[in-house]
């Protein structure tokens, strides 16, 4: 948790002023009874009305001053805690942006959402409490201890036994409940995961008439969450009763031994009252502390979940941020003996070698799970190879900065997803400064110009999250347009025309073939989509089993022939 203090750096002034003001307010509050006593002793008893008035005014002023200090403290607390949370969320979002897909898969999106909302909210609350209460409570405890010492050193031993005992109880409760709080957040993650799943699969759930049974699964996680919460509540519920009992035991000891001392004349009755009052003061402070302990315990659990994200290091990192020289005349993309696997799993690609010259079209065909998508994922370096190397423009992809490497690449993923906004804002992904002409051009090439111009708002038309208000085929074409706006040197189409009708698909490929400077990778299941490529790569079970033009492959590759036969080509 203390590692997160770096996010408080800018608020150091508030962090000092806030508690100081709170302290001042507390001191002022303590003085008010003294002024009251003063008024009675000096004003009333001496029948001095003007003294009563002036000191009465003083009291009001002290109250107002106290209010002012308290407000400064509250303001500091609100600025600091919300600022802290905001900075933390920004840092986390930016860190997540650096992570590779492998790491994100491991944590999971729903868990990241709860960490960025629920967990950070918890930490925010802890910071606010830090400013509002944390300094004040120990101040009162220490003050009371010091006062006790000055009254009677021997009697103050009771204080020195009771206070650490209370502290120990706090520690034990905190220590015992942290794992439960972590467990609780994990269960909350599960609830969040199930929620997301239900929402994204709502249509299928209804189609299968499964509403009821999904509720059971959710109910199980939901109940587990509630039960864990109750269990952790059982531990934290012990906190204030136990501290209360300890302090009452201390008071009993004070009165008893006090009475003994009074009996032998080494202590005065008034001093017992003072000691009891100080003990009560410690108890009150401790009650505040015990509430804080619950908040901080939760915050500790949340902090470790937040830190877990920060500790996750991207498995793919860039060597440099500088622009590096490429080799002139080198092929656009080259694979040299590349093998790759996900995590600890077996090879997903084994010993792949091929060259893609600039301006050529490379078709990739192969069965489901043969490694087609994996192969193209290595070009923009979403993952690093296990063996061999991938070269872009004659340079190993590991030498590039991400920006330089990916800047000139357009990738159209299998799953066509748009972001909420407008068509224009989606296309601007490729180039934030794209003018209408550029956008129109991209729409035309991708065969989306016709339907977009029919929309009432044209390119300013609203896009819902995920692009749900467009059909699958429209979405695919818009994602292609999005990549084209970038005017990439290398365009990668990962089976991204599967939802297009035949005529549109054909027209699209005609347009792409006309762009002579662009190296195009086309992954497809359809022979018709790849047969015109300059090179066709045939993949089977992670290996490259055929490489060449359509005609060459018909001669040499048994698998290719089989695929063609199955499609009646």
């Amino acid at each position: 948790m203390f590692r997160l203090r770096r996010f408080l750096k800018d608020y150091i002034v508030y962090l000092i002023i806030g508690p100081l003001c709170k302290l001042t307010e507390a001191v002022l509050e303590l003085f008010i009874p003294l002024v009251t006593a003063d008024i009675i002793d000096n004003g009333v008893l001496k029948e001095d009305a003007s003294y009563v008035m002036s000191h009465g005014t003083l009291m009001v002023l002290m109250g107002a001053l106290g209010l002012a200090f308290a407000l400064v403290c509250q303001k500091s607390a609100s600025i600091t805690s919300q600022g802290f949370g905001t900075k933390l969320r920004n840092a986390m979002f930016s860190h997540i942006n650096t992570l590779s897909h492998a790491e994100l898969d491991k944590i999971g999106t729903p868990s990241l959402i709860t960490r960025m909302t629920s967990d950070i909210n918890q930490l925010q609350l802890a910071v606010a409490m830090l400013i509002r209460l944390v300094i004040r409570a120990p101040f009162l405890v220490i003050g009371a201890l010091v006062m006790a010492c000055t009254i009677d050193f021997k009697m103050s031993l009771i204080f020195f036994i009771a206070s650490p005992l209370i502290a120990l109880v706090l520690y034990i409760v905190m220590n015992r409940s942290v794992p439960y709080f972590k467990d609780m957040q994990k269960k909350l993650d599960k609830v969040s995961l199930l929620s997301r799943e239900n929402l994204s699969g709502n249509r299928v759930i209804r189609a299968f008439n499964k509403q009821g049974s999904d509720e059971e699964i959710f109910e199980r996680s939901n109940s587990e969450l509630a039960e864990t919460s109750v269990r952790v509540g059982r531990i934290s519920a012990l906190l204030s009763p136990v501290t209360y009992i300890i302090s009452q035991a201390a008071i009993i000891a004070i009165v008893w031994f006090g009475a003994v001392n009074v009996n032998i004349g080494s202590l005065q009755t008034g001093e017992i009252i003072a000691l009891v009052n100080y003990m009560t003061q410690i108890l009150l402070a401790m009650i505040v502390v015990s509430n804080l302990v619950v908040i901080f315990t939760k915050a500790f659990a949340s902090a470790s979940r937040v830190n877990e994200v920060f500790d996750t290091k991207p498995s793919v990192t860039q060597k440099t941020t500088d622009i590096i020289e490429t080799v002139p005349g080198a092929p656009a993309v080259e694979f040299r003996g590349v093998s790759f696997g996900y995590g600890e799993g077996g090879d997903a690609l084994s010993d792949i070698s091929f060259t893609a010259e600039k301006g050529k079209t490379i078709g990739i065909i192969g069965g489901t799970g043969s490694g087609k998508t994996t192969l193209i994922n290595l070009i923009p370096r979403f993952y690093d190879t296990r063996k061999g190397e991938v070269l872009v423009n004659g340079v190993n992809v590991k030498e590039y900065s991400f920006r330089q490497l990916r800047e000139r690449m357009g990738i159209v993923p299998q799953k066509a997803v748009l972001q909420s906004g407008t068509i224009r804002s989606n296309l601007a992904w490729g180039d934030p400064d794209a003018d209408d002409e550029k956008i129109e051009n991209a729409l035309k090439i991708s065969q989306s110009y016709e339907f977009v111009s029919k929309l009432a708002d044209g390119i300013e038309s609203e896009v819902a999250a995920g692009g749900g208000n467009f059909s699958g085929g429209q979405r695919q074409r818009l994602t292609i347009a999005r990549a084209l706006v970038k005017q990439p040197d290398i365009l990668i189409l990962d089976d991204s025309a599967s939802a297009l009708d035949m005529a549109t698909d054909a027209a699209l490929r005609r347009e792409l073939a006309a762009m002579k400077d662009m190296t195009v990778f086309i992954i497809s299941q359809r022979v018709s989509a790849v047969r015109n490529s300059d090179v066709i790569l045939v993949l089977e079970n992670t290996a490259l089993v055929g490489k060449g033009t359509h005609e060459e492959l018909l001669e040499t590759c048994e698998l290719y022939r089989e695929i063609c036969r199955s499609q009646g080509v």
Partner: protein, 589 residues
């Protein structure tokens, strides 16, 4: 008027929230009783201590027996008070966490009773935020509300009783003064309420944003969009900071302000009291008593105002939750009836009009008659209404006018459950859930034994692949299904339908991600299954289309051509153009 209504709504939110606690009324009453005992004992202990000290008056004059007895009393009351406080905490814990659970359950249930359009249109991040964050703040608020308000109120009542016992007039005077601080608290609450609502909304917005962008990291990376998404995120985050800071600041005003009011009261009492003493109408002692009790009485009010921020956040969360729970449900379903299952599949669609948005007409005067067992291929340019047709057939959306009948019976006269059990559906976007492959295949028939599951998987040509996985059928499908390729996911979806064996089939571009060799096998299995069953296939592959009994060529929400492959080719219309363009390109080289 509007003010009145808002207040009304506020009260309604609270009463509904309390309504949720009703099942735990036993625990609530118990908590209240425990609170009374614990607070009472808490107030008694200092009195006993006071008496004990009174017995220790001077050297050699200490009455150890009395002191001992009284201290014993203190000990007993302390232990009892501790125990009862613990019991009170336990009760409130149960009430709070189970209430939150009930609320979450209701939200989840609601997701399956609202029209699908609500789920389609609302950002999922926002819906999840209501489930997670808003429900959490309701829990926090309830917890603070019950523990602090309870003991606060009990404390107020107890001191009131003690004061009445000593002096009725003073008690009445104090009671009259305290509403002042309540008035201040109410005023501040009013200011900050809006901010809390706004904060809750922006929280939902930020969840949606995270959901959208973290889920699409690959895209973000390939477009070098990191910085730009960071900027938009920072913008939303900044708005969250501003309204978060405001709501926290405004609501945290309540506590110091009420304390200031108390100081004012004390000062006024002291000044006026002192002047009356000087004037001879009051005694010194009564001022002291007055002040002490005024302080003691106002303290719980301060404690109550201290938890106002949490309670306000809870109310804002509760309002958002209730707002969703109150959204309109789907129209009532008729009773389930066996006779509506296993229909033979004669479909009559007459004069159907439908649009998602009232202003944008989509399907107009749509007519279609399909005989039992026919295979219907739907083709047409993208966006022509193919998916919409499926939405209407399965009643994901309701038609605006016209009629859809199966075996002569309107689908609006049967329950959605019965209607849908007649269909097997495979969508373009293959949805699997976070469970084993076996559970995913058995999704429609959870009671199916492993043999049936394997048989279905074999029919979908995915059995061999599944067997090769280290955990076989027990392999868990991860959240995004990244351990399976799109094609494999789709095959599992097909196996899922194969297992259900429904009388009608809907395949929405179902085979687009499967390689053609596998598809050929799947097609064969489908062809087997489609025998005698009415099937709708939205497909782009010629092989699928050619085998269909009827090809519907759709454009702009209407059927423009209808017939089998040969007759349509002869007609030389839109379809033959479509068909020829495919081969034209294929042959162009």
């Amino acid at each position: 008027m509007s003010k009145h209504r808002r207040k009304n709504r506020e009260e309604k939110t609270l009463t509904r929230l309390l309504e949720f606690c009703r099942p735990y009324i036993g625990q609530i009453i118990a908590a209240l009783i425990f609170a009374i005992i614990y607070v009472g004992l808490n107030l008694v202990a200092p009195i006993l201590v006071g008496y004990a000290i009174d017995y220790a008056v001077g050297v050699g004059k200490v009455d150890f027996v009395s002191v001992g007895l009284l201290l014993l009393g203190v000990g007993v009351s302390a232990v009892c008070s501790g125990v009862f406080q613990w019991l009170m905490n336990m009760c409130t814990n149960t009430v709070v966490y189970f209430t939150v659970r009930d609320i979450r359950r209701l939200i989840y249930k609601k997701w399956s009773t609202v029209p699908l359009s609500v789920i389609d249109r609302t950002p999922h991040g926002d819906l999840i935020s209501r489930m997670i964050n808003d429900a959490d703040s309701v829990g926090d608020g309830l917890m603070q509300g019950i523990t602090q308000l309870f003991s606060g109120i009990v404390m107020i009542i107890c001191t009131l009783v003690f004061m009445m016992y000593i002096s009725v007039t003073i008690a009445i005077a104090v009671v009259i003064i305290t509403p002042l601080s309540m008035f201040v608290a109410a005023f501040i609450t009013k200011i900050s309420r809006k901010q809390f609502m706004k904060q809750s909304e922006v929280q939902g917005e930020i969840s949606s944003y995270i959901d959208e962008y973290i889920g699409q990291q690959k895209l973000v990376k390939s477009f070098g969009y990191e910085e730009r998404s960071m900027r938009s995120f920072e913008e939303i985050n900044e708005r969250l900071r501003i309204c978060g800071q405001k709501s926290q600041w405004y609501s945290s005003l309540a506590n110091p302000s009420t304390r200031f009011v108390n100081t004012l009261v004390t000062s006024a009492v002291t000044i006026l009291g002192s002047l009356s003493v000087i004037g001879g109408t009051m005694t010194v002692g009564s001022i002291a008593t007055f002040i002490t009790y005024a302080n003691q009485y106002t303290k719980p009010f301060n404690e109550v105002t201290g938890v106002i921020p949490q309670i306000q956040a809870a109310m804002a969360g509760a309002r958002r939750i209730f707002e969703f729970l109150d959204s309109e449900n789907m129209s009532e379903d008729p009773e389930n009836s066996e006779e509506n299952r296993n229909l033979s599949g004669n479909i009559d669609i007459d004069h159907v009009n439908f649009s998602y948005v009232p202003t944008k007409k989509l399907i107009t005067d749509f007519n279609l008659h399909v005989g039992s067992g026919q295979r219907i291929a739907i083709v047409g340019p993208t966006g022509c209404g193919k998916t919409t047709l499926i939405n209407l057939l399965m009643r994901f959306y309701d038609i605006n006018s016209g009629s859809i009948k199966i075996d002569g019976k309107s689908i609006y006269q049967m329950s959605r459950h019965d209607l849908r059990s007649n269909y097997g559906m495979v969508l373009q976007e293959s949805w699997l859930y976070n469970a084993s492959i076996r559970d995913n295949i058995a999704y429609g028939r959870p009671d199916a034994d492993i043999e049936d599951v394997i048989a279905a998987a074999k029919k979908a040509h995915i059995h061999n692949f599944i067997q090769r996985l280290p955990d076989g059928y027990d392999t868990i499908v991860t959240e995004d299904g990244t351990n399976l390729s799109q094609g494999q996911r789709q095959l599992i979806c097909i196996a899922r339908v194969m297992l259900c064996d429904p009388p009608m089939l809907i395949l929405d571009e179902a085979t687009s991600s499967i390689d053609t060799r596998t598809e050929l096998r799947v097609q064969k299995a489908f062809a087997e299954m489609m025998k005698g069953r009415t099937s709708f296939i939205v497909a782009h592959r010629l092989s699928t289309i050619k085998e269909a009994d009827v090809i519907l060529v759709m454009k702009d929400g209407n059927i423009i051509e209808q017939g089998d492959h040969n007759s349509l080719m002869k007609a030389g219309g839109f379809y033959s153009n479509l068909y020829n363009s495919q081969f034209a390109v294929a042959q162009e080289g």
